[in-house]
């Protein structure tokens, strides 16, 4: 069984994404939303670690409406999947439980 992690704080100002990455397991998913989507850009703190985790089987998603609202479409790191609320709901079904980091 696996966990979906949601992150809604900027990794530039808060350490929530770092905390999440330290404990998330193979097959877990990470969804970035609200100010958490600043973690999806190439220059984000822990961007390298995020890419490494993606290679190791962790899926990383970002809410497309929050990406567009903040004008970040051209700045996204590779392998981050853009999703809408319908897919967000589906992700919560595909994982056993949801840990919201804030």
């Amino acid at each position: 069984m696996s966990t979906l992690h949601t992150i809604n704080k900027s990794p530039y100002s808060h350490n929530t994404l770092t905390s999440c990455l330290a404990v998330c397991s193979e097959n877990d998913g990470i969804l970035l939303l609200e100010d958490g989507v600043f973690g999806a850009i190439t220059s984000a703190p822990v961007a390298d670690e995020l890419q490494k985790l993606i290679q190791n089987g962790i899926s990383v998603f970002a809410l497309i409406s929050d990406i567009k609202a903040r004008g970040l479409e051209d700045k996204l790191a590779p392998n981050i999947k853009l999703v809408d609320y319908n897919i967000f709901v589906q992700l919560t079904i595909n994982h056993r439980s949801v840990q919201s980091w804030y």
Binding site: N8, L33, E34, D35, S65, D84, Y85, N86, F88, V89, T92, I93, S97, V98, S100, Y102
Partner: protein
């Protein structure tokens, strides 16, 4: 599937309540059951009927009320959180000798047990804070 949501942040000041609202809409559109939305901590401010944002701004309190009416939703505000933050229904206002009450229609005030009960009966409990 049976979903419940927990909302811990104030509307307007934080985007988290709005995200919860959009998530709630998506679960309903997909035909899932939304057992309860529980408002705790600053989430209690979602339940005031006095918020008066400018006409051209999104009014989340009203949006919750419409959604609840359309889908017969159970919107519950934690009583301890609500009392501390000044969100009262008529009977609590009387009990505490307060001059008025401000709980919006469609919301009910109840205990923390309602969050735990929601966890027990729901397949998924998603927190927004």
């Amino acid at each position: 599937m049976i979903f419940s949501l927990a909302v811990y942040a104030a509307p307007y000041s934080s985007q988290a309540s709005y995200s919860a609202y959009k998530f709630a809409m998506a679960t309903l559109e997909q035909g899932h059951k939304l057992h309860r939305i529980f408002f705790y901590q600053d989430g209690a401010h979602n339940a005031t009927n006095l918020a008066s944002p400018p006409q051209d701004e999104f009014n989340l309190q009203q949006a919750w009320q419409s959604l609840a009416k359309d889908h017969n939703l159970d919107l519950v505000v934690c009583i301890a959180a609500a009392l501390r933050r000044g969100v009262l229904n008529e009977s609590e206002a009387k009990r505490y000798n307060k001059p008025s009450h401000n709980l919006a229609d469609e919301f009910t005030i109840s205990g923390l047990g309602q969050l735990v009960e929601a966890a027990v009966v729901s397949d998924r409990l998603i927190s927004f804070g």
